[in-house]
Symmetry: C2
Subunit: 382 residues, 2 copies
């Protein structure tokens, strides 16, 4: 074999082995240090790789803003499987590989607790948007892990508590509190790690666009002693008891809070949206600010009778509740339609409420980051 043929063959092998990905693509910000893949292209297409050399079939699966349906990956000559997605929706998406029927995380990405387990996540940047960025030159609040004994569940629980910048230094100041609930399959870290709630608040506060507040994120799961771990219905009475009888008193005694109902808000997404409406509308003496993000579709919402008729006397409701906020992403289809229907029915019944529509986003974290931005900016203003 002469040198020319040898070089040509080598070139051919190298060219064939090179995975196909968009020019000018960059490693995702959620990659582990040093990982070159996944890569995000200028068009927001994503190229992923999976090293399951012996597999017969590898698919990319995950959030709707990344892959609408499982995407077949292709085995390159070097044995590594890869695929490039169509342009993704900006924001955070869970994803994983389906390797011969087995769900496998991408060991090149950070993992985030979702789908009831640690799951690979990818961040797709949104052009010109930085409200949830961790900005170096903005004052940062703390997020505190707060353990407490729950007599309701018979076990130790852990909440995460955001205290705004200056909380420790301004030793006399007292703060209103927002209780923020996660969705099904997530946990008390999700609003921080995926949602970046602390950075959203830091940035709002630095811009003077929100009132300083404490934000409390607990697990939305609770069951009475003896209850199975599988008893995962988010709307359990146990969670309501934990919130009302334990968590709120704990927060009010541990942190420098304002304890009047006018200084207490609750909001949640998906399962947490259902929990928020179920709990706040039953306890208007405790909460004055209510946020329902991407709530599960509900059949036949009726302003006169739903939620034990709390909306029936619209004037009384309007006088008592400072904010009733509903939101959903336009790509959430049934959830969006159902939220619009509730909003319109409330309007028609004379119940003051705000509806926010997140353009182009699905039942994913970009909807809820935007929702928090919109909701938190309105809170605790007279």
């Amino acid at each position: 074999m002469n040198a020319w043929i040898c070089c040509s063959l080598l070139f051919f092998v190298l060219a064939a082995a090179r995975p196909v990905f968009a020019a000018n693509s960059v490693p995702a910000s959620t990659n582990l240090p040093g990982a070159e893949f996944p890569r995000v292209g200028p068009d927001l297409s994503v190229t992923v790789r999976c090293k399951a050399r012996e597999a017969k079939s590898v698919k990319l699966e995950g959030g709707a803003g990344l892959v609408k349906a499982p995407l077949d990956m292709v085995k390159n000559p070097d044995g590594i499987w890869s695929v490039t997605t169509p342009p993704a929706v900006p924001g955070f998406h869970y994803y994983w590989f389906n390797v011969d029927g087995v769900r496998m995380n991408d060991d090149a990405s950070r993992l985030f607790f979702g789908w009831s387990r640690d799951t690979s996540g990818i961040e797709i940047p949104e052009a010109g948007v930085d409200f949830y960025d961790a900005k170096p030159n903005v004052p940062h609040g703390q997020v505190r892990m707060q353990w407490y004994l729950s007599k309701v569940t018979g076990g130790l629980r852990r909440a995460h508590v955001y205290t705004p910048p200056g909380y420790d230094a301004e030793a006399q100041a007292r703060y209103p509190v927002l209780y923020l609930l996660h969705g099904a399959g997530e946990n008390e870290r999700s609003w921080i790690e995926q949602g970046r709630a602390n950075f959203i608040l830091d940035n709002l506060l630095a811009a003077g666009k929100a009132k300083p507040m404490i934000v409390v994120v607990d697990s939305g799961y609770a069951s009475f002693p003896g209850g199975s771990n599988k008893d995962r219905n988010g709307a359990t009475a146990a969670f309501e008891d934990v919130m009302l009888k334990e968590l709120i008193p704990l927060v009010d005694s541990t942190y420098r809070t304002k304890t009047a109902r006018e200084s207490r808000a609750m909001a949640g997404l998906s399962m947490g949206s259902g929990q928020t409406l179920a709990i706040t509308l039953k306890h208007l003496d405790t909460f004055a600010w209510i946020g329902a993000m991407s709530g599960p579709p509900r059949q036949g919402f009726d302003a006169a009778t739903s939620y034990d008729g709390v909306f029936k006397d619209a004037a009384a409701f309007n006088a008592k509740v400072k904010l009733l906020w509903l939101g959903a992403g336009t790509a959430e289809d049934r959830i969006h339609a159902s939220t619009v229907a509730m909003h319109e029915a409330l309007d028609k019944a004379g119940v003051t409420n705000v509806f926010y529509s997140s353009p182009g986003t699905d039942h994913e974290w970009q909807t809820w980051r935007r929702s928090l931005l919109e909701f938190a900016g309105r809170l605790f203003r007279e």
Copy 2:
């Protein structure tokens, strides 16, 4: 086919499909809610399962206290692979599956950041030992995520800060500080999630066996701006600069600390042990309490010349340093031998030091939990 044969066949199928595991075994405490496997037997054998039905070969790999070498798993008639290990060493072990050459986490277990990625972990209980348990009826300190801008690295960093029970309520009290460093491939969460440092402190404090203190856990990785992410040498000058010029001043200005050197300790494990000795022995005006856990084996330690001769004047060293603590697990072989050699050389040179030997444990977290228990109990006493 008559009913008897049918039943017999059914019995045979069910019996054959049932995975083999120890009687009276229980799900590991590190399992995700509802997961029946991995199971820990009364003899501390561990049975794991992996659903890679299409795989040709599946092995169990992980920490030395769980599997000394890759352990072949067996495919059961139902297509699920399983294996039962020999009795494991008590404590925390990383583990994963090797599926046809691909490293895969166990989706039934919690993941912990180790080996430079999120990795499955299993907790093996130690009979009669509860010093690192999350006890419901003991007061719990908080663990605070503390973001800060580093001019040294040019980026935002996140430390975790343990404040002891009562920190917020006793608004005039000031506390000594322990800086605690992790090992290679881990991060600023590892001392909390794997090491349970906060629970160890909570339990020590509740028993009156330690002085109330603040514990700071940062990432041990740092590089100067423009430095590659791959520049992972833990003993970098960048980390030393972050610690001395940024983190300590930040902690002293943000928390109610005692700022004299007699109220400042540093300890670390493995890579962090090397960093601790490198930093503290160079900065004895900053640190008075030193803990080196499972340090990397070093060639030819010489009390007269090593560490720039800091041990040469033993009397001066002894007068200045409140505690020089060395420790290792007996199963750490070379690390243990190397630590003993350093201890004996220091003794011979008249340098006061303490050596702790953790019985039966390897280069794993049970060694370091015990080390923290022993070290923290001695701190900040006159």
